[in-house]
């Protein structure tokens, strides 16, 4: 455990990068959502009328804002931290395990941060003007478990996806990183094609699981990315 803890400390060495910035991103996304709602309110008045509020229920900012940054954190954690950890006498396995614990911490923080913003949003009656960032349709409109689970899975999927491609780059170089990106995209398109082809089965699953179907798919993808990064990491060289 001592060896794994060292890699965890490496991941957490820059707190701003691993802990605070994901929360800043959630905050900035909320701020922009409120500002946009405020600008709309200049012409339609405050509080925002019902039709505008209904549209804001489909605000996907929380879905789009965190993945880009977290993907880059995943890339750097498994790519640049790899060189550092090996220079400092770590094993590949310990680096992967320590970093994975770090990913869990970051993702949990994103989930909890989302709950805090949701609570603030509700306590202020949607930022006093009817603006919505977390009390939205795809986060089950205030369902705490769905909000936490969705944001947690979104974060950990982004981190492991970045870790996978970062490790592929470290092990096989630029060409194979591009090839693996193409293959992953084709595989995802294949799954979508399968879902369309078997539309009756897909409908049945959607009826029984609802949005949890997408969350389960996200969890499976995160596990696949994690397993892929672990397997490739064993072959990576400095």
């Amino acid at each position: 455990m001592t060896y794994i803890r060292r890699s965890l400390r490496l991941y957490l060495a820059n707190r701003s990068w691993a802990l605070y910035t994901p929360l800043y991103i959630l905050g900035i996304m909320t701020m922009f959502s409120v500002i946009i709602a405020g600008i709309i309110g200049i012409s339609v008045g405050y509080p925002l009328p019902d039709d505008i509020v209904q549209n804001m229920r489909y605000n996907g900012g929380a879905l789009y804002a965190p993945p880009g940054f977290l993907f880059s954190v995943g890339v750097l954690a498994m790519n640049r931290n790899f060189s550092m950890a090996l220079a400092f006498g770590s094993t590949r396995r310990d680096l992967w395990l320590g970093t994975s614990i770090g990913f869990l911490i970051t993702s949990t923080l994103v989930g909890l941060g989302s709950l805090v913003f949701l609570a603030l949003e509700r306590a202020t009656d949607h930022w006093f003007i009817g603006a919505r960032a977390f009390d939205v349709q795809f986060l089950a409109e205030g369902d705490l478990v769905r909000t936490f689970t969705t944001m947690f899975l979104l974060a950990i999927l982004s981190l492991y996806a970045g870790a996978f491609f970062g490790t592929v780059f470290r092990a096989f170089g630029t060409v194979w990183t591009a090839v693996s990106a193409i293959l992953v995209t084709l595989a995802l398109l294949g799954v979508i094609a399968l879902a369309v082809w078997q539309s009756s089965l897909t409908s049945e699953l959607w009826d029984s699981l609802g949005a949890w179907l997408l969350l389960n798919i996200a969890a499976v993808l995160a596990l696949l990315a994690a397993a892929g990064s672990y397997a490739v990491n064993r072959r990576a060289v400095v």
């Binding site: 060896y3 803890r5 990068w17 931290n81 550092m84 094993t91």
Partner: protein
């Protein structure tokens, strides 16, 4: 299979070591102690001060010399049982290199450990070495003490005919011609009457430095590998 217990006794900061772009020097030096139970904060603080390392600067913004200074700081402060120094002086000015040699010797005296140093400034590093081991394509071509190695070759300069008279039956490593003058590096120790003969033939005779010797061995090996009858210098 990597062995964590053994690896934690090693420190190998490469010449082109990459760090996390988001990390400042302070971040890197804050996390390094977690990897080494033997880490000395005192050494790290002293070296960062002596090398004037900018603690808040991100790793990707460091100059070549600052990267070398950071690598030296980590390697010496780690007090790892097996410390690898890969071209540690690149980009360092003469005074910073002097600090490095001084700190390396000081640290080694207080905490002896195995230090493996790769360098191209052989004469500058020679004072640190006790034994010289020269590898050529994985084969050991020389293993001896530093003093013996320094005595193990000499350079003869003068007019070609006279130089050839003196080195006639010797093991010639390299030849360099400039007009009618010839400079020859010879492997082997000087004989008793060499100085007398050199004076008589009006030749200059001097011991080769360790760097001259190693360079001559390298050129000699290259010439043999390419099967060239003449040395590279001779052709020029």
């Amino acid at each position: 299979m990597e062995n964590a217990e053994i690896l934690q006794r090693m420190c190998f900061v490469r010449e082109d070591q990459r760090y996390n772009d988001a990390f400042s020097v302070r971040d890197i030096l804050a996390v390094a102690p977690a990897f080494y139970p033997t880490w000395s904060s005192e050494v790290a603080d002293r070296l960062t001060e002596r090398f004037r390392l900018p603690m808040r600067t991100r790793s990707k913004k460091l100059s070549r010399g600052q990267r070398s200074a950071l690598a030296i700081t980590i390697a010496l402060a780690s007090r790892a049982a097996y410390t690898f120094l890969d071209e540690p002086y690149l980009g360092l000015d003469a005074s910073s290199r002097a600090i490095f040699y001084e700190e390396l010797v000081g640290e080694y005296a207080v905490h002896p450990r195995t230090v493996i140093l790769s360098t191209h400034l052989i004469d500058e590093a020679a004072a640190l070495m006790e034994e010289v081991l020269i590898l050529d394509e994985g084969r050991i071509v020389l293993q001896t003490g530093v003093e013996e190695a320094s005595r193990g070759s000499f350079i003869v300069r003068g007019r070609e005919a006279e130089v050839r008279t003196l080195v006639a039956d010797r093991d010639i490593l390299t030849e360099r011609r400039l007009g009618g003058l010839l400079s020859v590096t010879v492997r082997g120790e000087l004989r008793e009457d060499d100085h007398e003969l050199a004076e008589e033939l009006r030749l200059s005779l001097e011991s080769a430095s360790l760097q001259d010797f190693v360079a001559a061995l390298g050129i000699h090996s290259l010439d043999r590998a390419t099967d060239r009858p003449e040395t590279l210098e001779k052709a020029s």
